[in-house]
Symmetry: C2
Subunit: 350 residues, 2 copies
Amino acid sequence: MGEFELLERVRERLPAPGPRVRLGSGDDAAIVVPGGATATSVDALVDGVHFRREWSSPAQIGRKALAVALSDLAAMGAEAGEAYVVLGVPTDLDEAGCLEILDGIAALAAETGASLAGGDVTRAPALTLAMTVVGHAPSPERLVTRGGARPGDALVVTGELGGAAAGLLLLEGTRDCGVDPPIGGSTPQSARGHEGEEGGGGSVEGERGRLIARQLEPRPRLAAGRALAEAGATAMIDLSDGLGGDAQRLAEASAAKLEIEAALLPLEPGVDAVAAGAGSDPLELAASGGEDYELLAALPQERLAEAAEAVAQREGVALTRIGAVADGAGVEIRLPDGRLSPPRGFDQLR
Amino acid sequence: MGEFELLERVRERLPAPGPRVRLGSGDDAAIVVPGGATATSVDALVDGVHFRREWSSPAQIGRKALAVALSDLAAMGAEAGEAYVVLGVPTDLDEAGCLEILDGIAALAAETGASLAGGDVTRAPALTLAMTVVGHAPSPERLVTRGGARPGDALVVTGELGGAAAGLLLLEGTRDCGVDPPIGGSTPQSARGHEGEEGGGGSVEGERGRLIARQLEPRPRLAAGRALAEAGATAMIDLSDGLGGDAQRLAEASAAKLEIEAALLPLEPGVDAVAAGAGSDPLELAASGGEDYELLAALPQERLAEAAEAVAQREGVALTRIGAVADGAGVEIRLPDGRLSPPRGFDQLR
């Protein structure tokens, strides 16, 4: 199957694009009429670097590629708009596999209101996905950069931390539970488990599946990002590389100091147990494991309650105050024993 | 050098972005305030598939990746806006090589008025460039799709055809002239040669360099595309895969027939000689060789002179009438001997 035929098959499977898209895939370029301002981000995932085909189904790989890209838009407080995909296909991935990847992308696009508006398919030595996503806002002032945190602001984080790193440890078999990790075709339910929509009950296996889903099927916090932007967030970043490094980046961009209370970090249930089994510190998984794709934001103290309510209502996750913005530079972490030296993980980064 | 450090070095080298870019590389996403409508296209180039590192310098590879992407915007009649690059770096490409690629991209961006507004760098098994480009127009109606050609329209092409295919034959050594192809660091002068800015005189070596430059350093016809859009072009496409296949696509999208006179095709000087040496038909190089990145457009007959003058003035190349749009479907080529069967090349495609 040639490039043109594959693209044609893909186009047939796409849902109708959103109202801003005047012309979708199939011409020289997509035509879009943006509202006020756009936020644009690109992200690439390569087999063996960012994922492993033996751990993920093609649909999971496609879904994660789009999720990781959309997470950057969430961190701007933007509305998801258009997505463009470059698919580099190795010789051992057949047409069905390619279409399954694109179905995974299309499924998350539909869930988030994004339109898959264009793409390119090429041969490549390893499976490669490069996603470009464009988000929208009524004006550039409504988008939240990393650079506006002010001394006195509260520092908050959405959802729970450490789950993706714990899931990776489980996949790597560091914690041998005698149960194989779910390879490929893992259920959509597991993806939603970490959203708290699954009543299911804290069993080790339920937790195990949920932690692995946090690694393989991250969800962009788009609704939370918009809620935080509307609640006056002064700076925001998504936690892709880990709280330690990402907090440093926000501190640098804002020319301020971030003071974090380690005891306040919201650990994903099960992270403690996985860390214990692997001889790791759960705080390290939460602080430097990365890939949780939660949002770290600064916002005025007086708007904390309003922001927490909006995030809970619109994203279905908690908003946790983990510290404050102060005069100065860098990131300072107060450990549970009161010391001010950073825990492992914070100082390993960068 | 890690990803963050490389991105930091890249950012230091970028020229100031254009006025639409409110926030460039370095945050979660770039912030842009588009005017009316955007045209967005993505293109990926992979070593061994789209280029060969032994034939091109890193700067040439970067330049070509952006040129190929911008050519799609030229075909919409859009103004070049922002470019976003994903760079997949193999272990045998060092930091200097990466920066040289990005310098090549930045140089063409500066020449075309595009802003390099974001990117991502990752490890990859083969050098991979995925470019996303965003063009602008005052309204969606000002952009030219492939779908509006009307019976009675003239069919025109910018510049000259077959040069890129002839250059590829020269690089592949099909025509052994006893002179090695210029590897890497080929001169910027050669890139400009096919613009007609070089007075230089028809010598075999001058022609040889010019043909190779058409292959390695294509130029997006952005000024011609805008001139054609303003002159009322009803449909437009860039010639990336070859006139034969690309004309088919325009015919299909417009639900019309394209009648092309083979004798009218503007052959790049030197293509005849290279074709003769390689035992090929020069018409085949012009029709199916691909990668000339000229524009094929339909426009009302009465605006032909105005369009040709504008293209000559703004792009410095000729606009040649090669046929007409008629009722029907498909592409029909009248050969120099009067027959109506398609020449080799036209029927090989799709």
